[in-house]
Symmetry: D3
Subunit: 270 residues, 6 copies
């Protein structure tokens, strides 16, 4: 949490230093203002611990909170509570926003296709991916690749440089046997080429829901163990149309366009 | 950009290393897919420069881009273009989302009150504040305090610990003469107490638009050089009601609940 | 304290490792050798805590110590006491030197003008500003701007580039409403131009004491809420001549030319 | 230079960003305002280079500058010149202050004893030792140990813990054959014990000049290759009394109580 | 390379600074003293580039060098060549040692089983894994997992905590669909349990070569797409016995017990 | 330990997070599988402490362990034990390998020459020198210079640039009086030149054992306090031939070509 506190504190929390004596103690509660799936409670606790205060988790990450629910209580030097307040809330607001939307979409899609996965992408806020991916997981989603190093994912520009789907997959065989190989395709033809060249995962990029659904069926029939993912242009308002069109639905929306959940901290009068 | 690239690259961009020979060169264009106020073009350029590629800005930060507009062209090692693509787009998407909304709200409010300022808050993504504040500025907004060190801002919890508005402002006089003193109040009475105790800025927290407007008039009459800010519960759907109720309208929405703008990168066939 | 300890310890405190067994415990006292206003006691404690020893503050930062006064007692692994000794003393010596001179000058000037402030500048030791500014505050001084980010301060070279006082202040209006605007002027004419253009603070640079005093009176008469600062060529031997010539007297001397205060640490025989 | 620039710039040089357009170019000169031995010219150049400006050294580190001498010229983005000005001057002021005093004391002592060395101590500003030691060297002084890792130096508290001079030196034999062993003694008896136990360097701590001179003669007679250092309570006003009392005179004054040298930067009208 | 240079240089390369003037230029050659598969040439180049010298690769990483072959030529400030020499050679020596042994074992095993892979483990030198894994790849080996984040690998202690192979694999289904699942087993029974529970990779730990070979056949027959790895107690002197007993042979030896290859740098007389 | 854990953990220990609940506790033992001189027990403890587990040292660094000896017991969150296992073992394996070989060679050489020292070189793994040097010391060896900053060591390329042994040593007199001066020579003539020019240590580089022994005797006779070191081409199989040919025998082998010692960790069933 050190670097995040430094971002906010800079050369000092001048207001708190002037108004609050160092020996003053205090207690506070962090309260949810909206119904949500909680994420960031752990991070909020760590913010206060780093500042020398004690935090007690009242509602765990991954559970549902209702408006008015106390999520975390904190006690210790009043200065620590005041200095850590904003950062702790910033973690909670953004992460719970992501977990809540992820869970909401998952529930809607699983009504249609109980086995479907909702996955994030690498469209995350620079420097904050660890927390955004964790929020997706807490909402029941799949974090997908963390970054460029933990799975092969061959995208349109790679295919163009490599000279085609087949050639790209052939070169990908040079990867470690510990890595899965995924490829993004934009046509039926390329999807079958990818399947036949041994891709572990085939991502159908920017297919309409009906085309995706049809192709999904054919691909699974030809090689049942292949994983089919749809991606591209999927938003909360059209995701259910894709619910039975793939094994996995991935959308950047989960991490780049989510509304934050409101939380507040109140200190107790002493 | 180093730390952000390390977040994405980890121990290596294994796909690109397998598919693209180190000596291969390439060129690419980054294109806006929606109308927006651009922000992040500078950061996107720096991503590619850090990776040893050359970036040419075609549309500057702060200007308007239309769908299809080329924003940046890049050339250099194909590996650098592919490895930097996602991070560069992530900067552009999020920052342009913020600049666009900020500008949109500013334009709407200034139709009603030509001198009003729209300001951000400290409700930013941990670790990414520098860029979110810059995006607000590029959209014509006011970045407000960067952090806890560059202005005095006395909030509800501070007042409670200090024992009231008057006492809090008295202690705040201990600050450097180079800093402004702002205080957040929730009642008319506290607003006048703050004014009389010499606050440079009075923030009306969670006032309805009519109450805020009335109080704003009285406060400016009593001390014209005071700056009045409204905050709390302000969203794109109610902001215009506050347009003539203060000198400054601040809202966390600008940095915590904005939808990203879509951009894409296409490599040229060589 | 980590980075400062690393600077001194490098690859290891080879003397202590050879001479003192890891399990040996010890106690020690840090004693002031001269009368001074203390600063750095907190930092000295943290040095020992970081090394796993316990430190008890006997005289607080900001209070006066006399020769022979015990300032801090320390106990724990003898290795930690020996390895931390020099760094702890280095903080105390330099910071107390600054606090003592600041307080001395403040007392002298306030005899003449009870409301005057003595302020530091940005003429600090690179990397050590946080502690030098804190020492000024502990001596009763005003830390002034911490750095380039927390207030607008328009200096001679800025005015030249901007094309004059009026134009510079006009552009400075683009700053956030949370920031004060200060400008440095070298002539009467520019001082009035600055006043009329709305500067919050006017700094009279390199004025003689009589000219400054006269101008100060005129400026305050014209706009009472303006803050007037004098700076340039002010040293301990001429500062009293400026005591009633401004609201604030700033001098680099406080942080760049101060003699350190002597402290020593003695370990107790066990 | 990165970390030092970040200390001063924080979240941005807001004055310069408002007043100076990014594309504006400028040139400037850094001029000495007092006679001095220069130190910090290299560091000042690097400050500007790091900010993308070009610096040309006109007077080298270690040479003498007279009032009015141009030390460095700089050209490039006007923003870089303005943002780097203070940090560059801070390096020059403090480092030249140290080099000048060191050289002054060396010249005075060598008139009495042409072979004597003037050495620094570890009484440096935390985080800035590298530059303070370099300034001592540029003034003709000896930097002494850089830190706790590059020579054995057995001090009073070590001797007490180890149980005496002889025992301490015996344990010090466990050090690498690549390291010299120095010991600090406070009595004649301990000085001879140290000599006989094979210390490479004997430091006479807090001896008066006459006692030191007499003992120095005896020690060198008994073992000519031993190096004798005097330290403790030595200041510019008494150093000459020690000039012929040792091979090396070390004093903390060089780095902890030196007055800075005045420099200024002027931008050229364009 | 910065952190590695700092480890070696510390507060300064005092020998080179004393003996070599800053303006002196030089050229040098790095020569292999033994036949080897080269690795670390890239890193050696970067060491010199970071110090401001120019490096020209004469033999690429992954190729074979014979005794006397010039691998790299360097030119630039003589100080840079001398200061970078040891670090550059340290990269070359260790990395080429690893690449050479890896390649040697691979060639030997592929004579017996042309499709077999030789893989590294996580038994690497702390802080140096990136380079040790790269050296394995350059020798033709498989780097295996980079760390704990890029594939699921269920080991003995995990199985014990989870309560058996089946339960462990069931929980592992919670992982992202982008990750492979590998499990380490010590008995035939567990191997089949792992196969049936859907492990992507089954690692036979500490099996004798004959038992491994027999089990390998049975597992591949039952599920041809499973990957079988042998590990545990495999060394250069017994690896050929495992050549046809698995798809992949992994051994810690490649990174923890390899003899370095000798290289030297000679500067040219100027 | 933070940076080393980050290398292994990356974005998360995904296996352990899936298989082991956060609240589960466990205990484990680390056991030596071979006879060795222990090194790295301290580091292994710190790995677990950093992860929030408790470690109890059962066999100290520098002592001998036999196969089956428990070296460390650990207790705490089962996740911490599993996540820290590999890194802890990696420290132990490599460091104990180095300590064991160092001690073995020392014992063999001291049978021939009881006063001889066995020393390491700077041929260490980049980034891991601190631990490799410590392992040499724990095995009874001399760590030699830590890096380029703690002693003068004039090597072949330095002599060539400086223009000969005499000139090089003359320039080296400019170093601090706190540093020893060592020089590497390749001929008898240079050895005597170095001796006469006042080198503290003369290193005979690449001399055969008989030539070294003869020259050693002559040098010590001419100046008994000089230290003579042999280096170059010394390996475990020829080191005894040099045992009485110098005061110090240094060999890179100790840190660059040592076989690791096997250790394992077993968790207890709970």
């Amino acid at each position: 949490m050190g670097e995040y506190l430094r971002e906010d504190i800079g050369s000092g929390d001048i207001t708190t230093e002037l108004l609050v004596p160092p020996e003053q103690k205090g207690t506070a509660r962090i309260v949810a203002k909206e119904r949500c799936v909680l994420a960031g409670v752990l991070e909020a606790s760590e913010v206060f611990k780093e500042l020398g205060a004690k935090a007690v988790v009242k509602r765990k990450d991954g559970t549902v909170a209702k408006p008015g629910d106390i999520v975390l209580t904190v006690s210790g030097p009043a200065r620590s509570l005041l200095t850590g307040e904003r950062l702790a809330l910033n973690f909670l607001m953004r992460m719970s926003g992501i977990a809540t939307v992820t869970n909401h979409l998952l529930v809607r899609c699983r009504k249609i296709n109980p086995g479907v996965r909702i996955a994030a992408t690498r469209k995350t806020t620079p420097g904050f991916r660890e927390f955004e991916k964790r929020a997706v997981s807490l909402g029941g989603g799949d974090p997908h690749r963390f970054g460029l190093d933990d799975a092969i994912l061959i995208k349109d520009n790679h295919i163009m440089v490599a000279g085609g789907v087949k050639e790209a997959l052939k070169r990908a065989k040079g990867s470690s046997f510990t890595k899965k190989v995924e490829i993004e395709v934009e046509t039926r033809k390329d999807a079958f080429a990818a399947l036949d060249a041994g891709a572990d995962i085939v991502m159908l990029d920017n297919f309409g829901p009906d085309d995706a659904r049809a192709l999904y069926g054919e691909l699974k029939k030809r090689r049942p163990e292949v994983i089919v993912e749809v991606s591209g242009g999927i938003r909360p308002d059209n995701i259910e149309m894709y619910a039975d069109a793939a094994d996995v639905i991935s959308l950047g929306w989960l991490t780049h366009s989510v509304r934050s959940i409101d939380f507040s901290m109140s200190m107790d009068r002493t």
